[in-house]
């Protein structure tokens, strides 16, 4: 799962864009797609990349052994022709497709797979968040030129997804004795996918062109330009002018700035739910939030419904747990805790928080209930949410300060667990459900469980579910796990928001799948 700033990332920089110059440009090639990108990726190396932006570009350049079907999420062959799984679920043997070529003409073989695996395991390679998923692989063997085998040390129901979905880089390009983390080809990728890298103009755009050596069906879009525009309102203006074909729009733009007839004649508006949610995390190592009753009281104090309706225009859904709201693991028997300040006061009193000294602020054993809410300065929603919370909390005698930090500093604060409360989101783009990374108590130190959630039953469920291959049984376990989270309230779960996108009507066959949109299948409408 990837952490992401709440709902939108707006980097603290204002893009100075030559507003008028695009009009002078010559007529556009209809087979070129202009995509909006909110920030520039740091690298295009699929192994060391961490941000969602580089993933979305690498997806078009690099391929993996297996892929997932866009609608059913069924595992389908990509670079592997077929595979065999041993009955004990520990050994995975992949038979590679023959004659697949990297975009520079060199043949793709088992050596590339083994090399990529070794890089992920290499302690010198900076890819901590990827390494977590390959801890349980004991070895990766080359059987012959077109066969590789992964051996796990313990069974895991997502094993095939992870060893088959491992990023693969070309050995002949990267294995040149240069440091992998700073290899020049990190900015000049060579892959096997439908598109190949063309150019990267720093601060402006990245361009991909169709890969002539691609073995599959050729996409109608021949060229893709990812334009980096950090200011969303500028991006929207460019979209309206026709300088962009695709962009993710924000809630307010969806509701108030994209409804004109003219806009709808030029653009499709697509709205779909992915597996992601936003939350408020209460740091359990802080004296205030150790007590379940206090955390529950905080949830009761937040008017999630009204904030959703008014600040987010009612576009999302309130969630009660981490799973995909329309998936099987999501426990629909649980109702979101209502906004109920009276009940919250009662709970706080039970936990010992009362205004003993009459100064208007709750206290317990002489300590005032006064905490800091840490947010990232890029997230306007978090800013709005927290200033509302500050006002609401003060009414029951809880003092709250808001501290916003720049994204990198903010992430550092969160990871070093130096915060009282924070608001962020998680996304699970592949619908994997496995809660291990965020909720297992082993992930408190240095992992993603930075709020310090630790519950013996939850740990046990997470561990056994990983080795349970019967989906029905796993769903039962996860629903129980969901109920534990609902009871304990380590997070105040907020919303799952739909992805909102505007796509130019220059294209046809723009379909929304469970995994989202895929421009490789789009058709270019014949010029009017």
């Amino acid at each position: 799962m990837q952490p992401r700033p709440l709902l939108t990332i707006i980097f603290a920089a204002i893009a100075f864009l030559p507003a008028g110059c695009a009009r002078l440009a010559p007529a556009k090639d209809p087979h070129t797609l202009y995509m909006h990108m909110g920030a520039e990726p740091g690298t295009l190396n699929p192994i060391t990349a961490t941000d969602a932006y580089s993933h979305s570009i690498n997806l078009r350049i690099y391929e993996t052994l297996v892929d997932r079907e866009y609608d059913t999420l069924k595992i389908i062959p990509q670079l592997a022709e077929r595979w065999e799984i041993s009955p004990d679920h520990l050994t995975f043997r992949f038979y590679l497709k023959k004659g697949v070529r990297w975009s520079d003409g060199v043949e793709f073989t088992a050596d590339d797979v083994v090399y990529s695996y070794e890089r992920i395991k290499d302690p010198k390679v900076a890819c901590a968040q990827l390494k977590v998923y390959y801890i349980d692989i004991r070895k990766c063997l080359k059987i012959d030129r077109y066969t590789v085998e992964f051996v796990y040390s313990r069974p895991y129901y997502l094993a095939l997804v992870f060893c088959g979905g491992m990023p693969i880089v070309p050995k002949h390009i990267f294995d040149t004795g240069v440091d992998f983390n700073t290899h020049p080809n990190n900015r000049h990728p060579v892959g096997t996918g439908p598109f190949r890298f063309d150019s990267w103009s720093t601060g402006k755009n990245i361009t991909l062109v169709a890969n002539e050596r691609y073995r599959g069906a050729k996409p109608e879009i021949r060229r893709v330009v990812y334009k980096f525009i950090s200011e969303p309102s500028v991006a929207l203006q460019m979209l309206k002018k026709g300088d962009l074909d695709v962009m993710g729009v924000r809630e307010i733009e969806w509701v108030r700035q994209t409804n004109s007839r003219k806009f709808n004649e030029k653009f499709y508006k697509k709205k779909y739910f992915m597996s992601s949610f936003s939350y408020i995390g209460w740091n359990e190592s802080r004296v205030f939030f150790q007590d379940r009753r206090v955390r529950l009281a905080m949830t009761h104090l937040i008017n999630r419904k009204e904030i959703l309706d008014k600040l987010l225009f009612g576009l999302g859904e309130i969630v009660t747990g981490p799973f995909y709201i329309f998936g099987d693991s999501y426990n629909r028997d649980l109702r979101p805790w209502p906004c109920d300040p009276a009940r919250a006061k009662q709970l706080l009193k039970e936990a010992g928080w009362e205004d003993h000294d009459g100064d208007g602020i709750l206290d317990r054993n002489g300590k005032k209930f006064s905490f800091t809410f840490t947010i990232s300065s890029g997230s306007k929603f978090a800013e709005r949410l927290t200033s509302i919370l500050k006002e609401d909390f003060s009414k029951v005698g809880i003092e709250m300060d808001i501290n916003r930090y720049e994204w990198a500093v903010f992430l550092d604060k969160i990871q070093s667990r130096d915060f009282d409360a924070t608001s962020l989101g998680w996304s699970d783009p592949d619908f994997q459900d496995d809660p291990y990374q965020i909720w297992h108590s082993s992930q408190i130190e240095g992992g993603s469980n930075y709020i310090g959630f630790s519950n013996r039953e939850a740990d046990r469920i997470i561990e056994t579910a990983r080795q349970e291959f019967d989906p029905a049984k796993r769903v039962k376990m996860y629903r129980r796990f969901h109920a534990i989270l609902h009871h304990e309230q380590p997070y105040t779960f907020l919303y799952t928001m739909p992805a909102l996108a505007a796509v130019s009507r220059r294209f046809d066959n723009v379909k929304v799948h469970k995994r989202g949109m895929n421009f490789v299948e789009w058709k270019v409408r014949s010029t009017q």
């Binding site: 603290a12 920089a13 204002i14 969303p232 309102s233 924000r250 307010i252 108030r256 700035q257 009204e306 904030i307 309706d309 008014k310 600040l311 009459g358 208007g360 300065s377 890029g378 306007k380 800013e383 709005r384 927290t386 200033s387 509302i388 500050k390 006002e391 009414k395 300060d401 808001i402 501290n403 916003r404 930090y405 720049e406 990198a408 500093v409």
Partner: protein, 325 residues
């Protein structure tokens, strides 16, 4: 003799109508900033009911906590401030409403009253201007007077140091330091204070170099006055006028820096309003909520212009070569 000098300056200053108008605006803004809680507040100055008299704005009454006295259910005699909203109270039912009877300048995206936020935001702008400028004027005078009074190698060392500090691009230095310290009003003020003193230091140094050779300084040195006495009593008062001019311009540019920092999300912490912050919050709504960008932008513009007019007026008034004399 000094009194005569300043009243002369005032006489000259008064002749410049624009500068006087600027001074009026500045004084009005300071008054608004100082009186902000009395101008925009959701509690009444005075509330009389059932024979009891409350002053909710000034004192905290346990029995009136969390009570919205604006509601009609609280009967009695009430005197409210001109703006009956606090800067942080939200109302999700009137989000982004235009200027009107209920909200004179409209509301923002959380339904907070824009006028109340502008009034309270002026505190940040004015406050930051004065504190940051005081810090750097103090530093500048200290360093400049040492360099100018002692001259020689001390002057050479200090002057080179001033030149080194001037080389740093202030705004980016501020951004870097804020990223390291974490943003807060205090760090913004301190950072502006410790990076912008070079101009003042140079002016003071120049004045000191000129004044230390004058007869009255030589005379007091001859009668055995100590350096500190000469600097503070004799030279500094005569070197202050150009510092004052520079400080006035400094306040204007500090307000602008604060607005830029707030616009980038490095300034005050929410929900504290500042003009730059209001502007930054409102850029999403630019195409349908003109008041949210226009009003804070206009306020910044007016304030900066007023300070600059005052600065220019002062400059002319103290300039013996100005055509008015």
């Amino acid at each position: 003799m000094r009194r005569g000098y300043w009243s002369g300056v005032w006489r000259e200053f008064r002749k410049n109508r624009l500068a006087v108008a600027g001074l009026g605006v500045v004084l009005a803004l300071i008054a608004v900033a100082v009186l902000a809680p009395l101008l925009a507040n959701n509690r009444p100055y005075c509330y009389v009911t059932e024979g009891k008299v409350y002053f909710p704005i000034f004192y905290d009454y346990q029995e009136l906590r969390d009570k919205d006295l604006r509601k009609d259910e609280f009967r009695g005699f009430k005197i409210f401030p001109p703006v009956r909203y606090s800067y942080s109270e939200y109302d999700l039912n009137s989000i982004v409403t235009g200027p009107g009877r209920r909200h004179l300048l409209g509301t923002d995206e959380q339904g907070r009253d824009l006028l109340a936020r502008m009034i309270h935001g002026s505190r940040v702008s004015i406050f930051i201007g004065f504190i940051a400028v005081s810090i750097y004027v103090a530093i500048g005078i200290f360093i400049g007077s040492i360099a100018g009074y002692y001259g020689g190698w001390i002057d050479i060392v200090i002057s080179r140091f001033i030149e080194i500090v001037m080389c740093f691009p202030t705004f980016f230095l501020i951004l870097t330091i804020l990223a390291l310290w974490g943003p807060s009003l205090l760090s913004v003020m301190v950072v502006i204070g410790i990076t912008s003193w070079t101009g003042i230091a140079r002016i003071v140094r120049g004045e000191f170099l000129k004044l230390r050779e004058t007869d009255f300084v030589v005379a007091s040195r001859a009668v055995g006055a100590r350096d500190l006495w000469i600097i503070l009593r004799h030279i500094l008062p005569n070197a202050l006028a150009p510092v004052l001019v520079s400080a006035t311009f400094g306040i204007a540019s500090t307000i602008l820096i604060e607005s830029s920092l707030s616009f980038l999300g490095f300034g005050v912490q929410p929900p504290t309003p500042s003009w730059g912050d209001i502007l930054s919050q409102s850029r999403d709504f630019m195409d349908f909520a003109w008041w949210l960008t226009f009003i804070p932008g206009f306020a910044i513009f007016i304030t900066i212009t007023a300070y600059n007019l005052v600065g220019e007026g002062l400059q002319e008034a103290i300039d013996p070569k100005s055509p008015g004399r």
